[in-house]
């Protein structure tokens, strides 16, 4: 329990210090806003259209593959911790586990979904 107290303190102090720094900038900096200054910067030319552009679906694919392997890692971490005390059968289980998921990666690859088109 007390270990999470320290983590909580780290989070609190980690928030206070950047807020303090930005606050100092807010206090000491000049504040003379005007529409030109606040306009969106696009290399000097006038901004055209909305910032909400259509993204390509490749971003979703990479996040998707990441999600699957992230969850896989969650299962493998307890396995890795205990591996030293377990016999060969645990290694075989891990190999099966990873191999099944690598099949998914290969499928995605073969479908051409890992290409950045």
């Amino acid at each position: 329990m007390s270990e999470w107290l320290y983590i909580a303190l780290f989070i609190v102090v980690g928030l206070i210090i950047p807020i303090g720094a930005i606050g100092a900038g807010f206090i000491f900096g000049p504040k003379k806003p005007n529409p030109i200054k606040e306009s969106t910067y696009e290399c000097g030319i006038e901004t055209v259209g909305d910032a909400w552009i259509q993204f390509k679906s490749q971003y979703y694919i990479f996040a998707l593959v990441f999600l699957v392997f992230d969850v896989e890692a969650v299962f493998l971490f307890p396995w890795a911790v205990k591996l030293g005390q377990l016999g060969l059968y645990a290694v075989v289980e891990g190999i099966i586990f990873v191999t099944i998921l690598v099949v998914g990666l290969v499928y995605t690859w073969r479908k051409g979904m890992l290409e950045w088109v």
């Binding site: 990441f66 299962f75 586990f97 499928y107």
Partner: protein, 171 residues
């Protein structure tokens, strides 16, 4: 009230408040960010339950991956930043009644259960939950089958999602 109870109250109020924002905010990216806030509150609740591993995994999986996936999906399915039309359907009051009834029903059922007011025993000294979890996940007497089936489930999800989202027949 002990310090732990006060902390729990604050965490629960924060989490439920964020959850209400998730279901009522109009802007979907804001709703996803409120979801992150809710999930963080749930992670703190796990930490209060001494489930270190689950608490960290909550942050890694939900905030690190699922929330990102949601934000990407919102970006991919919207053409403009403005929110047009109502975000809730006409029968929102019926939904609210159903939700309140479900909560009341759950509360009623649970309060009738004998173990409702249980308190937790102290954790044994030198208690190593991760080691036990690793053993449980790999032992043939315990959960090795769910462990491998989870892998198959993730494979099915990956293949299915790739196939559904990007079916080459439609151009």
């Amino acid at each position: 009230m002990t310090a732990q109870q006060i902390i729990f109250m604050i965490v629960a109020a924060y989490t439920l408040g964020s959850a209400l924002m998730v279901v009522t905010t109009r802007n979907l990216v804001h709703a996803a960010l409120w979801l992150v806030s809710t999930l963080f509150g749930v992670a703190v609740a796990y930490a209060l339950l001494n489930a270190n591993f689950i608490a960290v995994v909550q942050v890694v999986v939900y905030i690190g991956a699922i929330a990102i996936l949601f934000i990407f999906a919102v970006m991919l399915t919207r053409k403009d930043m403005r929110d047009s039309g109502p975000q809730m359907n006409r029968n929102w009051w019926a939904g609210a009644i159903v939700a309140v009834l479900v909560f009341a029903g759950l509360a009623f059922l649970l309060s009738g259960w004998s173990g409702f007011q249980n308190t937790a025993a102290e954790l044994p000294a030198e208690f190593d939950a991760i080691s036990l979890l690793g053993e449980a996940l790999t032992s043939p007497q315990a959960f090795v089958l769910p462990f491998e089936v989870a892998s198959v489930l993730l494979l099915a999800a990956l293949v299915g999602a790739v196939y559904v989202a990007f079916n080459p027949t439609k151009k």
